[in-house]
């Protein structure tokens, strides 16, 4: 009993680390944004200006918020069917075979590729492809970066899903088969409900990865501070603008960039909450 209590306390103390890290992060971000918050207030959220000209500095986050949401949501929309199919392929249909092992290893390799390489691959291979399809004159834009993002987040979406799908108890599946269910019905009615928590968790983690991705997006989105007019227009994202300008920024510009970082935190929280709420409703 004594060791149980010790263990419970150890676990609790360990859990405080995540709170400590996030709390300290928010504290640092808020402190850094104070200058910008005082200067622009609420208008920061709805202004689409980004003018670093000395003497006329005016910053607003709207452009970047829109760009981030468009690219990340697009990435998730493309990635989910691909990742889900691959997960079923590896963890259900061809579970335990050599083929499944090879496929899952190959997909996992994607996670180790630095984002700059994805950016370059997108620049040299994907971009000319999109230009040749006539979708966009330069090949840059929301669609190109969203597509690259989707490839980058597939390993995050498949990894945990594979585990949870393959861990669904055989007994449950066999019981369903013995009642005459087809494979699809077993997937929809047995596997999905049971693995739902793990699958959802992996998609949320994948979405988080998409939101925070910087380099690959910045190399393919065109970095124009305009309001995106459509899926093939250029634009800019929150992570991109922070990574691009942070190294050389100071004063008000730096504060505005830090405030964008803070906003990213807030937006991630809101979207995650919405996503989890929707999934609960679908239960």
């Amino acid at each position: 009993m004594n060791s149980d209590k010790i263990l419970k306390n150890v676990l609790f103390v360990a859990s405080l680390l995540i709170l400590l890290i996030s709390g300290a992060m928010i504290f640092s971000l808020v402190r850094g944004s104070m200058l910008s918050i005082h200067q622009f207030g609420w208008k920061f959220l709805i202004s689409s200006e980004w003018n670093p000209t000395q003497g006329d500095e005016h910053y607003g986050a709207l452009l970047f918020i829109v760009g981030t949401l468009m690219t990340s949501v697009l990435a998730l929309v493309i990635a989910i069917p691909l990742a889900f199919s691959t997960s079923l392929f590896v963890a259900e249909y061809f579970k335990g075979t050599r083929l499944a092992s090879i496929v899952s290893t190959m997909v996992d390799l994607l996670a180790g590729i630095p984002s700059i390489i994805f950016g370059l691959w997108g620049f040299y291979i994907l971009r000319p492809f999109i230009v040749s399809m006539g979708l966009s004159p330069q090949g840059y834009g929301i669609f190109t970066s969203g597509l690259i993002l989707s490839i980058m987040i597939i390993p995050y979406a498949t990894s945990l899903s594979n585990t949870t799908i393959s861990m669904v108890s055989n007994e449950l599946k066999e019981a369903a088969y013995s009642l005459g269910a087809t494979r699809l019905e077993v997937i929809l009615n047995v596997i999905l409900p049971n693995a739902r928590s793990g699958i959802t968790a992996s998609y949320i983690l994948a979405f988080g990865r998409a939101l925070g991705e910087t380099l690959a997006v910045t190399m393919l989105i065109g970095n124009s501070n305009i309001m995106p007019t459509g899926i093939f227009s250029t634009g800019n994202t929150m992570s991109s603008v922070i990574a691009n300008q942070f190294g050389e920024a100071s004063g008000l510009q730096l504060s505005a960039l830090v405030e964008i970082g803070l906003l990213l935190f807030v937006i991630t929280t809101i979207i995650n909450a919405i996503g989890k709420f929707i999934i609960k409703k679908f239960a």
Partner: protein, 303 residues
Amino acid sequence: MNQTTILSQKANANDLADSFIGRKIKDRVFLGVVILFSLLTISMVLLIIGTLVFKGHHQINWAFFTQTAPNTFDAMMAKSSGQLIPGGIVNGITGSLYLVLIASLIAIPFGVLIGIYVYENQQSKYASFLRDTADVLQGVPSIVIGLIAYLWVVVHVTHGYSVLAGSVALAIMMLPLIMRSTEESLKMIPDTLKEAAMALGTPYYKVIWRVLIPTSFSGLMTGILLAISRILGETAPLMLTTLGNPEITWNITKPISAVPLLIWQFYNDPNMVDLIWSSTLFLMGFVLILNLLSKWIAAKRKI
């Protein structure tokens, strides 16, 4: 039992779609779609990996793994005479390994422990809050995490760019992945197993150590592997915390190099761009080895 009721209800419906043939067709079509999409995914992966191998394989030789990064003049000379760029990335390789090791030493124990805590307290609001916080942490851009590690460690602890700062930044990025996959893997273990162990009077820590963790081991390994793969390729946080180093070093309070930092350096240097592909191949090779290793360990431990 719910599933059985649903299925028998479906079997009683009169719709064509729910008739036996309809269901079989849907089943086949779905399989076709799954295979199609999987093939699409695999072909994209092959395309990317193929490009890397094609562009980078000729720069890989023994020197690549044993020599430090070349300077721009040697690279320029080599390029103009059509030879392979001399030198290698050994300072980056040792740096990356060192950073990953220290980061793992921090992140794995904490990540697993927090995952266990959340698993053991499913209903509590606090655990829910922890889970949500971890998911949000996952979405923070790596440059922001690098900035935080710069403020906390570089400025206040080591008073200079250091391995420790880099490892802290990388560990923060690993935490959400390890924590969530630990929790989700533990959740997939049938309750009966845990209850049986506890019914035998096993102390709690032994139940975790001897029953829960081994059973969910492959899931844990998956999460750890994904986390390590991710941090191997991260550049931005390392630029703000470890700076880089032209030599091999083991000092935890001093700057160190890493393969992604070298890749960034090569990319920005007009004479050394060709080296980025072979460096990436190294990273992928390392991830591959880790992958195979973890699959082998998981196979050995299968219950």
